[in-house]
């Protein structure tokens, strides 16, 4: 089967962006993939606006750093453990609230921004540079760094992220000092951010950690090089010897072709196919290295190639929870009564923005799927559109909740039945209908399947017809879309 032009364009939009939107889904028959790609580049060319959530920046920042200092003090000296519990609780509540806003506002960008490519790449880097700290100001700044550099130069992105308070705090580099090195930061930079495992020795990790000593941040949340903690003696790293500092280590890592290979491989698996075509990967990775890590070049190589649009690469990737929810909302423009329902879905489906499971990020692919998550995925369209409720109770996360868990639990118990409403939404169906305006009734079902699904596998018309409400054209479209979105086929793109 040769994929139609429309299918190929939808393929590009699902992988490089968050899927077709109601407003443009009808115009995908005639444009070429190369032109569509140019359009994606153009609409993402502007600098992003910072998503600001930290209420009182200066205050929030001060409290954030003070918190860390206090914890460190407390750890060093039990007697000084006088942190006001009430104050700490309040601060954490504020952080949690702000992270929730950051989550929802970024989700909004993914749904509505024209800079689709940038937001999609940012989501990728958000998982690559996975960071789990509660300080909302730090997270907000890291996200801005990522969104600003997501299509730029990987080396630049790596350097800025490595110097962000978020990452330095998360990977304990504030505690990395000469004669008392903490290897966490160095290890993860090598294992997860650049080369990948098996390409260096334990000794290389130790030496890199020595080079990163002194990297930290100050009370204003700015990167500082604390000279007094830096190990100035000679280090031998990946066969090179010198009085290296952190920047030297990153330079050596970027000079190593393995870094280009590792990053390209991750991008290939994420955007093209989990099953690697080694030859294509080598070609891409060599060009990425030669371009000095130009991300836009690499993506252009992928999205303007013929093989990207070959059959085996279409309709094979399991959408992440965020991709699923955003994709749905792009095709079905809607107003949600309860925006927080989106957080509940993220939680039960296993991808809460800003709370990656660990520094390795979300493993993706089949890891998204188990009985529970699949059944919830299949129910979401009906919950969003038909006011059906769903009863799920997400697991507690003590890192996020701290002492508050108790109160929540008690509150939950007070309700006779803890039925979390998925939230109702009103969908602008008239906008959805315009996609199919020109379609005759007999071709309508086929056209809707072609618009909603990316797979060869289709729902047999005889089956679908049983569930379609055909008393009006609008109801026909409505019920067909909702049912098609409730299928295993819709989980992939």
């Amino acid at each position: 089967m040769i994929a139609s032009n429309r299918l190929k364009n939808q393929h590009l939009l699902w992988r490089a962006a968050f899927g077709p939107m109601a407003e443009n889904a009808a115009s995908l028959d005639n444009i070429s993939q190369k032109d569509l790609w140019k359009l994606l580049l153009k609409t993402s060319s502007k600098e992003p606006q910072k998503i600001g959530v930290a209420q009182n920046l200066v205050d929030g920042l001060y409290k954030g750093v003070k918190d860390i200092v206090d914890i460190q003090k407390a750890e060093m000296n039990q007697d000084q453990k006088q942190m006001n519990a009430q104050q700490k609780k309040k601060m954490r509540q504020q952080y949690r609230e702000e992270l929730k806003n950051l989550n929802l506002m970024w989700l909004d960008e993914m749904i509505n921004s024209e800079a689709q490519l940038r937001e999609k790449m940012s989501l990728f880097w958000h998982g690559h540079f996975a960071c789990r700290v509660i300080n909302s100001f730090f997270q907000q700044e890291l996200l801005h760094t990522i969104r600003t550099n997501s299509l730029g130069n990987f080396g630049e992105l790596l350097r800025t992220v490595s110097k962000s308070p978020s990452m330095l705090q998360f990977l304990n580099n504030q505690q990395n000092r000469k004669k008392k090195p903490n290897e966490n930061f160095a290890r993860e930079v090598m294992e997860l951010f650049t080369m990948g495992r098996g390409n260096y020795t334990e000794q290389d990790v130790k030496e890199a950690a020595r080079a990163f000593t002194g990297w930290g941040f100050n009370l204003q949340g700015e990167f500082v090089f604390r000279k007094q903690f830096h190990d100035t003696e000679s280090k031998t790293f990946l066969g090179k010897t010198g009085n290296f500092d952190g920047d030297d280590i990153l330079t050596i890592l970027l000079e190593n072709r393995q870094t280009a290979y590792y990053i390209t491989k991750k991008i290939y698996r994420y955007f093209v196919n989990e099953n690697i075509d080694e030859e294509k990967l080598q070609w891409l990775s060599n060009r990425f290295y030669t371009s000095k890590y130009d991300i836009k070049n690499l993506l252009t190589d992928i999205y303007t190639s013929d093989w990207f649009y070959s059959d085996k690469n279409i309709g094979t990737k399991i959408k992440s929870p965020v991709e699923l929810l955003v994709g749905m909302r792009r095709l079905l423009p809607l107003e949600m009564d309860n925006e927080n329902a989106q957080l509940l879905f993220q939680k039960v489906l296993g991808q809460i923005l800003f709370y990656p499971p660990n520094v390795a990020g979300w493993p993706g692919g089949k890891n998204w799927i188990d009985s529970s998550t699949l059944m919830v995925r299949l129910q979401i369209p009906k919950v969003l559109t038909a006011n059906e409720s769903i009863s799920i109770r997400p697991k507690n996360d003590d890192d996020i909740n701290m002492g508050q868990v108790m109160e929540e639990e008690v509150r939950i118990k007070k309700n006779k039945m803890y039925t979390e409403r998925g939230g109702t939404a009103s969908i602008k169906w008239d906008m959805v209908n315009t996609i199919f305006e020109k379609m005759s009734r007999e071709n309508l079902a086929q056209m809707i399947q072609d618009t909603v699904l990316q797979t060869h596998s289709r729902i047999p018309v005889t089956v679908l017809n049983k569930y379609i409400v055909s008393d009006s054209r609008e109801n026909f479209i409505k019920s067909a879309i909702i049912n098609l979105m409730s299928t295993p086929e819709y989980q992939v793109c």
Partner: protein
């Protein structure tokens, strides 16, 4: 001919399961029904980091009382096990289990380079990885991988929860999570799912994978619901979360279901402030539920076959904090409850409070030794393959 109700139901459910399998999967279907009398593990997770030192209390240790002027539990209040050791006052049923030789206590269980983040440490416990490794599968999930290559339903490991824990996710197979068999049954009993499932033909590999998962879920929902109806227990359980969950487990243990592992959680034990009240409330819930569950199992002669084990992602620091609570610590104790224990009571010495690591307990037993023991000696599986390494077995079972 008289067909017993139970057999009739089983015939019925096999028939239904067959009907629901999509065509391309029928080849994998197997008709094994696991023989009764088989060994079962019930894992009880204490979420949030339970304070082990106020659970199994060193009632003659001056350091303990010095470091916990407000939180220390006196010998008079504790439930005395030996001269040196007492149990938290809320764990009355555990004391009786200790007295009749069905309780084992393993102290100082942990792992090298402990992590103090709840999420990370729980990951390490559930995946059975070293603290520097990130593993995307759980120890019980990999047990499924090893044990159930040809199984048609993921019912060998069940979690009583709305979401499936990493512990039960294998590389190939995954356990199944549900809160209530009836609700699972009704939510998956949608005609639409059954229709698309039965007409699906082999297609893209990932789509087939999703259909396989859906199909297994639908047939398991049916199977679990019917099994749970076979022998509804007559035991009275407390109306708590854990009480209800253990009741569900009991009704399944007494059926002919092929489940080997049950997983359930209670929490949150994250007692940074006002620890006493919170731990007491949770332990009372635990105690009453375990009391009903063990009574139930004994009455039905299954207590020999069932092993309960408890764990938490970490223990807490030796010293109390300024808010009448305790902060995140390291090593902790585990309980084992069964009528089939080979060693009972205190399986090893209490933690040495004179030999601390920066105010934290040092671990003496790696939790992976416990897993290896349970996997090998109780579940009869290849622990080395599942854990990726040979760990010495303990002797309590």
């Amino acid at each position: 001919m008289v067909i017993k109700r139970k057999e009739f139901l089983q015939v019925g459910l096999l028939a239904t399961a067959t009907l629901m399998l999509p065509k391309f999967l029928k080849a994998f279907e197997s008709k094994n029904i696991v023989p009764p009398g088989n060994k079962v593990v019930v894992v009880i997770q204490f979420s949030g980091g339970n304070d082990g030192l106020n659970t199994v209390i060193p009632v003659r240790n001056d350091i303990y009382y010095r470091e916990r002027p407000r939180l220390g539990i006196t010998k008079e209040k504790a439930l005395v096990l030996t001269d040196e050791v007492g149990l938290n006052p809320a764990l009355v049923a555990f004391k009786s289990l200790y007295d009749d030789g069905s309780l084992g206590i393993l102290n100082s269980v942990g792992y090298p380079n402990p992590d103090r983040s709840h999420f990370r440490s729980m990951d390490i416990w559930q995946s059975a990885s070293d603290s520097k490794d990130y593993v995307n599968s759980g120890w019980l999930g990999r047990y499924l991988d090893a044990q159930c290559k040809g199984c048609d339903k993921p019912t060998q490991a069940l979690e009583i929860d709305d979401m499936l824990s990493l512990a039960l996710k294998g590389d190939e197979r995954k356990g199944l999570a549900f809160k209530d068999p009836r609700r699972l049954y009704s939510s998956s009993n949608e005609k639409f799912y059954k229709d698309i499932n039965s007409t699906h033909e082999s297609s893209e590999e990932t789509v087939d994978y999703l259909y396989k998962t859906m199909s297994e879920t639908l047939s398991s929902a049916d199977y679990i619901f019917r099994q749970s109806q076979l022998h509804p227990t007559s035991q009275v359980y407390p109306n708590s979360e854990l009480g209800k969950n253990l009741k569900t487990i009991s009704s399944l243990i007494q059926s002919d279901i092929n489940t080997k592992v049950y997983y359930v959680s209670i929490g949150s034990f994250d007692t940074h402030t006002n620890q006493d009240a919170q731990q007491k409330r949770l332990f009372t819930e635990l105690n009453d539920a375990i009391n009903a569950f063990t009574t139930d199992l004994k009455r039905n002669n299954r207590f020999q076959d069932v092993l309960m084990m408890t764990f938490s992602e970490f223990g807490r620091r030796v010293s109390q904090n300024a808010s009448n609570g305790t902060d995140h610590g390291t090593a902790n104790n585990m309980f084992f409850i069964s009528g089939g224990l080979k060693e009972k009571g205190l399986l090893n010495p209490l933690p040495d409070l004179t030999d601390l690591n920066d105010g934290d307990l040092k671990h003496k037993v790696d939790f992976k030794n416990v897993y290896a023991t349970v996997l090998n000696k109780w579940l009869g599986s290849d622990d080395k393959m599942i854990l990726g390494k040979k760990y010495e077995h303990l002797k309590f079972i």
